[in-house]
Amino acid sequence: MADKKQVIVLGAGPGGYAAAFQAANLDLNVTLIDPKPDPGGVCLFHGCIPTKALLHLAAVKDESEKAADWGLTFSGVKVDIDKVRSWKQSVVKQLTGGLGQLAKARKVEYLQGMAKLTGTNSLEFTSVEGDKKEIAFENLILATGATASSLPGISFDEQIMNAEIALELKDVPKRLLIVGAGYIGLEMSVIYKSLGSEITIAEFTSDILPGLDQDLRDVFKKERRDLIQNTMFNTKVVNVEKKGKKLEVEFETQDGKKKESFDKILVAIGGKPNTKNIGLEEVGVETDERGFVKVDLVRRTNVKNIYAIGDISGQPMLAHKASHEGRVAAEHIAGHKTAYEPKAIPAVVFTDPEIAWTGITEAEAKEQGKKVEVAKFPWAASGRAVTLGLKNGLTKLIIDPENDRILGAGFVGKEAGSMVGEATLAIEMAAVARDLELTIHPHPTLSETIMEAAEVYFGHATHIHKKKKK
């Protein structure tokens, strides 16, 4: 144990590299450890980034088909899966390579391999070549992420895939079963549908995106009848059997059991934090009953020089939450007075239409017994939506009636993910409905729907006629 590292970050996903870069910005000496050749983690290598590239492709294809109604017809739209794959890979390469450059520029030491804690100030590093060495550290940030859960007794392979395998795009299965109608399940179903697969979705609960407000779901379901009509709700996959090249799947539905045959299955039923096999037990880092590392307001574990951020420190398992936590942890190590205290964490489902929400949902407000008022602006009244050929879409604001403060917002429709940022800023700034109403929004854009929803709250939206309240 020759030299002692000032900060080691274990895991180079969006949480880990954000932490490492921020620590370097604050003049700390940083070592970043990850098995991949460059920073990026699940998000960049086989998560957010490749899915978004493919979803863009799906959107272009879907839109080109819709354009026939507007007098624009394309002929011979074809999917070349090999080319799609290499394009996706080039996107990943560009971004992760860029992160590698940024790490170098900040003099962040990048070690490719895995590590396990051996003490509160030391870990054992195993390089990708298999060489082992002990490294001492003053501070450690754990950012080991999460792993996709599988169905009981089933391990992933080429045919029973998790999102990572599915994004390799080996081929386009004819019949694809997607287990789970959460955001990964929905995004993957949109991608594979567009690539030409026949999609069936099996969801254990009674609706898509558990926890989401019903009105947002309803718009999506109306727009994506093609997916929803092949979705089985309240359905459990009880058995999967390989029969020749096919997979025979047994479902347990409300109406009893049934069997169907598929070419491939994609399991998207959530993830488990990677808190095993990294030596947490050995040094006494506490985890909760679901396996998340327990952390305080600066993301510090019960061991005072070890921090945990991202998917291993609790829900929501989202890249942007991890990055923010990573920066807070790095700042705290650098001696800054900082805290992880978001008022709102936005979430986006990048399907077509997109679904996005931030802050409190109507369902959560109800659960907490908090009185809220909801102001909705349907996109049918938005000029911009009509010019884009959108029929359905919704912007909603969840407002505290006592002080008009914006507590939450929800969007469904094209570009919903780009609009949720404004709403999140409004919540963080403790803006009131009047602030949104009195801010001039550019016309004609979808962002106007936020302003108009605030007008609806006061009972006088420009593009909706409604009787005055009170």
Binding site: K4, E138, R405, M429, A430, V432
Partner: protein
């Protein structure tokens, strides 16, 4: 199951206490309500009871240690004794123990000694960065932007204390800055008033002979600070008078049984308590406090009187509340009870706070007169010395009369000389002719 015994909330404004004596050790079997430690806080001592029966698994404090409210002092294993104490089980889970500590941290933004050094958790071998005074309480619920919340954190300000000036009380940057300024100013003035700036250079006594150094206990420290603060800030005036209590003494002896039946003695102090209460009602300035910052006089509609009690740990002043509404018998009983509590360390800090006026009776010891110091925020104190028979010239001859010397110290910022003389004269007349109080 193990339960944590924490230092409970003792009284308002009391955030720490000192461990006087640890009465149990690891492995001891205790019953619920058994005393685990003797504590001293602010102006009172109290006992820390066990919340449950069990075996002492861990003693986390030692004698002389300062403990914060909410800090874990003992861990009791309730199963080891095979006992079940449901009350304790309900009470213990996750009391938000951090909160009082956090507050503390904010009040003292400068480096405090590393508390975490005592933690048993593994420590980094060489973490050179000083343990910062960060508030570990989330301010996410406060209507303020992230930048404003960060600013408050950096300034060591508890943003939850700030009332925002923005729409619907949104806290803006200027609010945080204004609040910080206020805190800094009040700290500056507060420090000057409360602390004795005594830079007197002590000689080396050991050159003169053998010496013994003893640490001041809490009561001594508090008394020293409070008295120096009063003396430095209050322009004192002392008024003396004498009361002929021959008749009063006769009455006291004749009717003492009325009180003795109930279990207490009828004392001059008890009678003085009642008469003082009436005097305070009729002379409201003496029942007031002054707020010099705002140049306001605060008149109080209640009459709470403190009585100085000599204990082996020093002076304590238990407070009797609503004296004007109580009979002399009740006052005698209560006085007896409070004095006993003060002497046996059972008095609670609450019972030592909030006196509008004080009576200090040194008559039991002796002396002809003394000048007590007014205890802020009260504005006057009555000193009572030993009564003795003196010759008094009455109707052409000297007669032996029982004479009680009284002194009144008062704050000249509020009370003028004539007022002081009148007040004390009123008390003397009242002792001589109690019927006068009816007018």
């Amino acid at each position: 199951m193990s339960i944590e015994i924490k230092l409970p909330e003792i009284a308002d404004n009391v955030t720490t206490a000192v461990v006087l004596e640890v009465l149990v050790k690891k492995g001891d079997t205790v019953k619920a309500d058994d005393v685990l430690a003797e504590m001293e806080s602010d102006k009172a001592s109290f006992e820390l009871p066990s919340e449950a029966a069990g075996v002492v698994k861990e003693v986390k404090v030692s004698e002389g240690q300062q403990v914060k409210v909410g800090e874990v002092m003992f861990i009791i294993d309730t199963e080891a004794a095979g006992s079940k104490d449901e009350k304790a089980e309900e009470k213990t889970p996750e009391k938000p123990a951090e909160k009082p500590e956090e507050k503390k941290a904010e009040e003292a933004p400068k480096e405090e000694p590393k508390e975490s050094a005592k933690d048993e958790k593994p420590q980094p071998e060489a973490k050179e960065e000083p343990e910062q005074q960060v508030s570990y309480v989330s301010a996410a619920h406060v209507p303020a932007s992230p930048a404003v919340r960060r600013l408050a954190r950096e300034l060591g300000i508890d943003i939850t204390q700030i009332k925002g000036s923005g729409p619907n009380e949104r806290v803006v940057e200027d609010d945080v800055k204004a609040f910080t300024k206020k805190v800094v100013q009040s700290k500056a003035s507060g420090a000057g008033a409360g602390v004795i700036q005594d830079d007197f250079q002590l000689p080396d006594f050991s050159k003169m002979g053998e010496v013994r150094r003893e640490k001041m206990d809490t009561i001594r420290k508090i008394t020293a600070k409070a008295m120096a603060g009063s003396w430095q800030n209050i322009p004192h005036v002392f008024q003396f008078d004498k009361a002929d209590i021959t008749e009063l003494e006769k009455f006291r002896k004749d009717y003492s049984k009325l009180v003795e039946k109930k279990g207490a003695k009828l004392t001059v102090t008890a009678i003085l308590l009642k008469l003082s209460a009436i005097a305070l009602k009729t002379h409201p300035k003496f029942n007031a406090s002054i707020d010099m910052k705002n140049e306001v006089i605060i008149y109080k509609e209640f009459v709470n009187i403190g009585v100085a009690v000599d204990t082996d740990r020093g002076l304590l002043v238990p407070v009797i509340r609503d004296v004007d509404k109580k009979s002399i018998t009740d006052l005698s009983l209560e006085l007896n009870e409070l004095a006993e509590k003060a002497r046996t360390k059972k008095i609670k800090p609450d019972e030592l706070q909030g006196a509008n006026f004080t009576i200090s009776n040194l008559g039991g010891i002796g002396g002809t007169n003394f000048t007590p110091i007014v205890n802020r925020p009260a504005v006057a104190i009555l000193g009572v010395s030993r009564s003795q028979i003196e010759p008094v010239f009455i109707d052409g001859e000297f007669k032996p009369r029982m004479i009680l010397p009284l002194s009144l110290s008062y704050d000249h910022r509020l009370i003028d000389g004539a007022d002081g003389a009148r007040f004390l004269r009123w008390l003397v007349e009242a002792m001589q002719n109690p019927l006068l109080t009816m007018f």
